[in-house]
Each structure stands twice: as C-alpha cells, then as structure tokens.
C-alpha cells in the first residue's frame, strides 16, 4: 500500500498534466506486476470494490472517536477520507499488504471479520496510506487523473501510440499483464474480442464563435444532436450488445432492440424512446435508464429505438480510417438492407451557408427532441476521444431564470473548504420553493463571494447543510425543464449552472413558480 498511497498523493498534489504523466510513468517503471496493473485499474475506474459500505467505516470511527469531535473535524476538513485518516488515534506496528493483495482481501472480506480487519488496517497504516485505503474502499479517488491521462502515461512508458492503446483498452482486463508485456516489448499487442468489446467513441468539441467564421461550410455536414444517450451497438450473428458512451454494457436495459443481421457490424447512434422514430422527451427516456429489470409495461409505454450516426465496423472490416462520406455511404447501405422498427437514420441537414444553418438552428429546432446541432467535417476519419477540428457540437441556447439562494453545502475534493453546492428557489405564493441545485458555472471569484455570503448569512444548520438568509439572487442557466413528481416544486432542471450573481437584484423581482412553469414547461 505504501507505494500506491504515495503515488496517489503525488498525483493529487501535482497540477501539471505533463508532470502527472511523468509520475505515472515512473510508477509503471518501478512497480512489478500485478501491482501496477491493479493500480492502473483503480485509477481508470475499471475496478470497483463495493464490498464494504462507507457507513461501515464511519461506524468503526464512531466507536473510536468522540462523535461531536468527529463532526466538527469533518465540517472543517470537508473530505471524509482525509478526516478519518487524520483523526484516527490508534497506531500499531506493521506493514499493510501491497495493493494487489489488499484488493483481494477487501473483495473477499466477510462481514464478521470486517470490523476487526479494517480497524487493524487503519491502525497499521500511516496517515497517507489510511487516506488512500479509505478512498479505495469508498470508490472514486478524485485525484484529478482521467483514464485518458493514465493511457497517455502508458503510451509514453511503452513508447506506443495512444490510439492503439485506446483501441484495445476495453478488451483487456486487470491486472493487464499482457498489456504491460506489450508495452515492455516482451509480448505482442493483446488480442481483443471485437464482438464483445466497446470501442471508444469519437466526441465533438463545443463550437466557439471564433472557429465558426474560419470554417469553409462546404467541407462540413450537419445533423441534429438528438437528446437521448449516445450508444455504440455491436451486432453479431443476430446478437446485440449496446454500450453507453463510457463503455458500460446497457444491453439488458433495452431487450426489445433486435436485428436479424448475421454479419458483424458496429454502429454509433443515439438511443431514444418514442414511436415511429419520433422521440419523446428526455424525461421519458429516463424512465428506461438504470433499470435492472425491464417490465413489459415500460417497453410498451416507452419503446426504445436508435438514430444511427455512424458505422465503425462492417463484416470485420475496421472502417474507422475511412472518411465520413465513405462511412456514411456504408451506413446508409446497411440501414436500407436492415431496416426495422428499432433503427432510424439520423437525417443530414441541407444548408448552403453558415447563415443558413444559423437560421435552421433557430427556426427548426424542436426543444423536446434536439440538444442542438452537430457539425462534422466530411474528410474526418473516426477518431476516438475528442480530437480537435473534426466534429463540433452547437448546443441550443441555454434558458435562464433569476432565483434565490436557499441552501448551501460544502463541495468535494479541491473545493472541500468552500460552500460550493447551492440550492435555489422561486416564489410559491409568499414562500420559497426550491427548484434545483447547481455546483458550477461560477468562476473562482464568484465562488469566494458565494462562500462568504453563506458563512456570514447562515440562519440554520442541518448537518452539513446551511440554510441562508433569502436575500441573494443568482441567475441560473439550464438546458431544459421537465415536470417531475420526485421534486416538491414539480419541476426538474436539466444541467443547471450559476451563470451570474445578481446581488443587485431585489428578491421581490424573482418570479413565481407558476409563472416559471408557464414559460418553460
């Protein structure tokens, strides 16, 4: 555990991306298998140890430390793993097992011995090891290392192409000994099972106004950015696998989607619910997400289908090097041959100038169905990741409302000493009704102002939540509003963020909830 904990401590405190890559390279160089592979799995979120609930650890701490002192400490430090690692009063001699062994122990620990074992681990560990151990158990290291960065480090360490690593990544498993063999030039590139392996998707960059002018519109095509979830579909011998954008297999949630196609094909598209290829709103799609068991009623009420964007493989041929136009042709051919109720083609929008496209975006967008426009370069191959200069997303303009700050909670990670999660509301008669939460959108300076306001204007504390004086107006931007039965206000905002602080605005000018519903619902 020592070298693992020191690694993640170093990664946390290193802010430069290049330095983080170097730190990881060093670690891969100096750490044997299978430790380095398990560490890689943890950093890339490819391994979860969900055996011990965090409540168990809290319970162990409560038995050891005075509850009030713990609460005060937690409130001050703001991060649970840090608080426990610093406050733990018992020290024992010994060494923790190395990371690969530790993972095995944590995965197989049984309920009866877990209290004793964890207690002993916490006492043997030094402060940084304790911190790392709790982070490991609670999942989510939050050390500012993306899996992309980890792969970049792998590429540098093995002097291989990052794209080659991306291509095999979802087909290999911890502790990745075959991967490290290849990286150290003592083995071949790991072979992967194409039929069951997610291929990282190509993603778009936001269109910024200044790019726009410089692009020659003849080199681009446009299509709607449908408001569903991006999926990758692998069909082989009539079997279908559906993966989310992050590579999670979500096939079981959508058992109705079928195809008779015998050959292997990998498609890229947007999963939606609706009839006759007409999408219902995102709220309806959400009824289908994250369900382990799907009822017939759900399938009937919210039938799923896919708008196809792209094709990656056909008959075992990798099409990703081909340009968009070639791939589009192949996609259309496949579509017309295999047409059924579950597959629709995402339509290409005709336009002859950016001005023309701007007008289309303004006049033809359907709020319930479209998230905006996608603009794709005709000559671009399919490149996984978010390559610059190929695909652009041009989201619809956000909506805004002025609302009143009501509650605040401290943030996590880097923001743990600031009140940075805010609940805001609108008038409902002469009461305030919360309509949403936002924890980003503001800059550092605005965060300081908000934090100060919260600290100086708290009227009540409920555990970590502070209720504040209802005097501060903020302008909230959001993508859309759905009606919701889960929220008391009856509305749920999508992607809310704090756009501006409106300290100047009197709270009496904030609108009523019913006015808000009339305007946006």
């Amino acid at each position: 555990m020592r070298s693992f904990s020191e690694l993640i401590n170093k990664l946390l405190l290193t802010s430069s991306r290049n330095r983080k890559v170097d730190v990881l390279c060093d670690y891969f160089k100096n750490t044997p298998d299978p430790d380095r592979g398990f560490t890689l799995a943890i950093i890339t979120n490819s391994l979860e140890i969900k055996n011990i609930p965090i409540s168990k650890i809290k319970e162990i701490v409560r038995e050891t430390v005075d509850e009030e002192l713990f609460a005060l400490s937690y409130d001050y430090v703001g991060d649970l793993a840090e608080t426990i690692s610093l406050i733990w009063p018992n020290k024992e001699n010994g060494n923790l097992p190395q990371i690969s062994k530790m993972i095995g122990i944590l995965k197989n620990i049984n309920k009866n011995e877990s209290t004793r074992k964890i207690h002993s681990f916490l006492s043997i560990a030094n402060e940084t090891e304790r911190w790392a151990l709790i982070k490991l158990i609670s999942g989510g290291l939050r050390i500012g290392v993306s899996s992309r960065l980890a792969k970049t480090a792998l590429a540098k360490f093995g002097e291989k192409k990052l794209d080659d690593i991306e291509k095999i990544w979802h087909g290999i498993d911890p502790p990745y000994e075959n991967l490290f063999k290849w990286l150290c030039d003592t083995g071949p590139i790991p072979e992967i099972d194409l039929k069951n392996t997610f291929n990282p998707m190509m993603l778009a960059n936001p269109l910024e106004d200044k790019d726009f002018i410089n692009l020659n519109c003849n080199n681009f095509v446009a299509e709607w950015k449908w408001d569903g979830i991006r999926v990758q579909i692998i069909i082989n011998d009539s079997n279908i696998k559906i993966f989310s954008r992050t590579g999670d297999d979500i096939s079981l949630s959508f058992p109705e989607i079928k195809s008779l196609e015998k050959n292997m094909v990998i498609l890229d598209g947007e999963l939606l619910v609706g009839r006759n290829y007409i999408p219902m709103n995102f709220n309806s799609l959400q009824q289908r997400l994250n369900r382990k068991k799907v009822s017939l009623k759900h399938i009937n009420d919210f039938p799923a289908f896919v708008k196809l964007y792209d094709i990656l493989y056909l008959n075992n041929d990798d099409l990703r090097e081909k340009n968009w136009e070639e791939r589009r042709n192949l996609l259309e051919n496949w579509y017309y041959k295999n047409k059924n109720e579950f597959f629709d083609l995402s339509k290409i929008i005709n336009f002859n100038s950016w001005k023309n496209l701007t007008a289309i975006r303004k006049n033809e967008i359907i709020d319930e169905q479209h998230e905006g426009l996608m603009i794709k370069r005709k000559s671009s191959p399919y490149i996984s990741g978010r390559p610059k200069g190929h695909w652009y997303k041009w989201k619809k303009d956000p909506k805004t409302v002025d609302a009143i700050l009501m509650y605040a909670v401290r943030g996590h990670g880097k923001r743990s000493s600031y009140y940075s999660d805010f609940t805001f509301g609108l008038w409902d008669g002469n009461q305030l009704s919360p309509i949403g939460k936002a924890y980003f959108g503001f800059n550092d300076n605005e965060l300081k102002i908000l934090d100060k306001f919260v600290r100086n204007n708290t009227i009540k504390k409920f555990g970590p939540v502070r209720e504040v004086e209802k005097t501060f107006v903020i302008e909230v931007a959001f993508d859309s509003v759905n009606s919701s039965t889960r929220h008391k206000s009856g509305v749920a905002l999508r992607f809310p963020r704090i756009k501006r602080l409106r300290e100047d605005k009197p709270t009496s000018e904030v609108i009523q909830l019913c006015e808000f519903k009339l305007e946006f619902l």
Binding site: N9, L12, L13, T14, S15, V65, D66, E68, L69, F70, L72, S73, Y76, V77, G78, D79, E82, T83, L86, I87, P89, E127, W131, G413, K414, S416, S417
Partner: protein
Amino acid sequence: MKWINENLYISPINTYIDPSKPVENAIITHGHADHAKPGHKNVLATKETINIMKIRYGENCAQNFQELTLNKTLKIDDVKITFYPAGHILGSVQVLAEYKGERINFTGDYKTKKDKTCENFEPVKCHTLVTEATFGLPVFQHPNEHNEIKKLLRSLELFPKRPHLVGVYALGKAQRIIGLLRQQKYDKEIFIHGALEKLCNYYVEEKIFLGKFLKTNLKDKKEYHGEIILAPPSAIKNVWSRKFVDPIICQVSGWMSIKQRAKQNLVELPLIISDHADWNELTQYIKLTGAENVYVTHGREEAIVHWCKMNQINGLALSLSGREDEEDL
C-alpha cells in the same frame, strides 16, 4: 473572570493583552502582527518582542517600551505579572497574572515542542487558562519536524535541477526552517526573499545559528538549480516567483496536513511543521495546568470547549476577532 474580561482586559491595572486596537497599556505576548499592533502608549514585553516590533513598525511604534525578563515578576499595583516562555517564536511568552491569590495564565500562541530558535516552553500551573486553539481539532496531530525536513532534502535529491520555493512566514517560521535544515547538516547557502532579511539578521544578532543565507537577486543570471529559496507564501503566488524555472512549490505550515488545502494553494510539497500546539499538546497542557476554567481566545474553539466539557472543565469560547494566525495561513 471578574477582574479580566473577554477582551483580555485586566481591569485593576487598566491593561490589555495583545489588543487589536491602540490602547494606553498593552502587554504583548509576541511579535506576530495579529498579536502585536503599533500605536499603543505603553508596551510591556520581552526584549526580543520589543526589538521585533521596532524592526517591523519602526522605533516609535509605541510611546514607551518596558522590558520584562523571563521568569521575573513585575508588580503593578495589586497585580503580579510574570512572563514564561511560550516556545512559539523568538521572544514569545505566556503571561501569568496574579490578583488576590488567583492565577490566570494567558498562553498567547505556543507550542510545547523543542525549538532551537527560541526559549523552550515552560508549563505553568494556574486556576484559569486563557489559551489559543489554532489547531484545536483532533485531526491536527503534527508529525515529527525532522522527518518533514527530510522530505524536503529527499525532494532536492530527486529533483536536483528544480529550485525549491519554500513558503514560510517571515517571522519565526523562516528562521526555524533554516535552523532545522542546519540540524540536518544541510550546509549550503540558503536563499531568502528580501522580506525575510531583517528578521533573519535579527535572529543572528540574538546568537541563533542560521549558517549562510543570501538574499535572492532577481536581476542576476543565476538559475537556482536545486537550491532552497525561502519566501512568504504571498510572494510565491505573485510575479516574484516567475524568475524560477520549473520550481517545486513547498509550503511549511500546520495546515499542510490537509491535502486538499495544499492542493488549493498549488503546493506540490507540503511540509507539516507548525509553531502552534497541536490537538494533543493543547489538551495535555490544559490538563497539566490544573485549570478549572479554560477560555479559548481564537482558533477552533468549539472542539476545545467540547473537550473541556468531556473532562469536567469549564470551557468558554471568546472568539476574539482579528486573530488570523497569519504565520500559519
């Protein structure tokens, strides 16, 4: 507290301890800016604290200065005042006030750990203890300072090309760090930011061994590969630090035990060395004094007051304003 009040005012002799505004009579525990303010009429302090005040604020920062030697008692009317070393920085003291048989001890800022750059702390028995609580939470358990200094030396070995910019407060912390480096046999010259110079020179005048230190010269061509440069944290954050190519940013403070705080301050190498008592020192000292009443001047008062209650001691938070523990921010 009949003869002192929550502003640390000793009424029988019309005297404040560490007042935040100019007053007629002030006793100053030590030279940090949140305790020693300019503009008082009469100041009673140790020789070192008086000298530090004059260095920082000018010769005339008070009308009259009166020195009091450690462990010597001064009688003012019916009140007896004695200074005991607080072990915090050079010249720092605890102030024991005795009146009609009641002993009240004001700790000022203190630490009980040994420190070669100042007089070591001495415990004092009292009826009422007025204590600081900068690190008054059980999450603060300062590690061994020599091991922390070794982290800096190890980093120098690992990155022999990179300048190590070490954020330290100008008074006390800077000199202690230099001293600790010398104890580890680090005998190269140590570079310091201009803001540290006068106080380092003063420590040397007081016969505290700091070895060779040099003011950084921003105009020279020197590249400071693998050198230690001490500077106030504010200088490291501003343009001053741009001269240094690819530096490792270090910061020395008790707060550095909180990784997220180090991260917020873009500190790559946090060194947890504090001139304040940690949780264990605070609570052990409260017990040791035998005090029945504990008043907490500043810091994490709630936890100390709660601990007092658990230990059948009367605790009260005074929440003095303006105490920002500047040396440890």
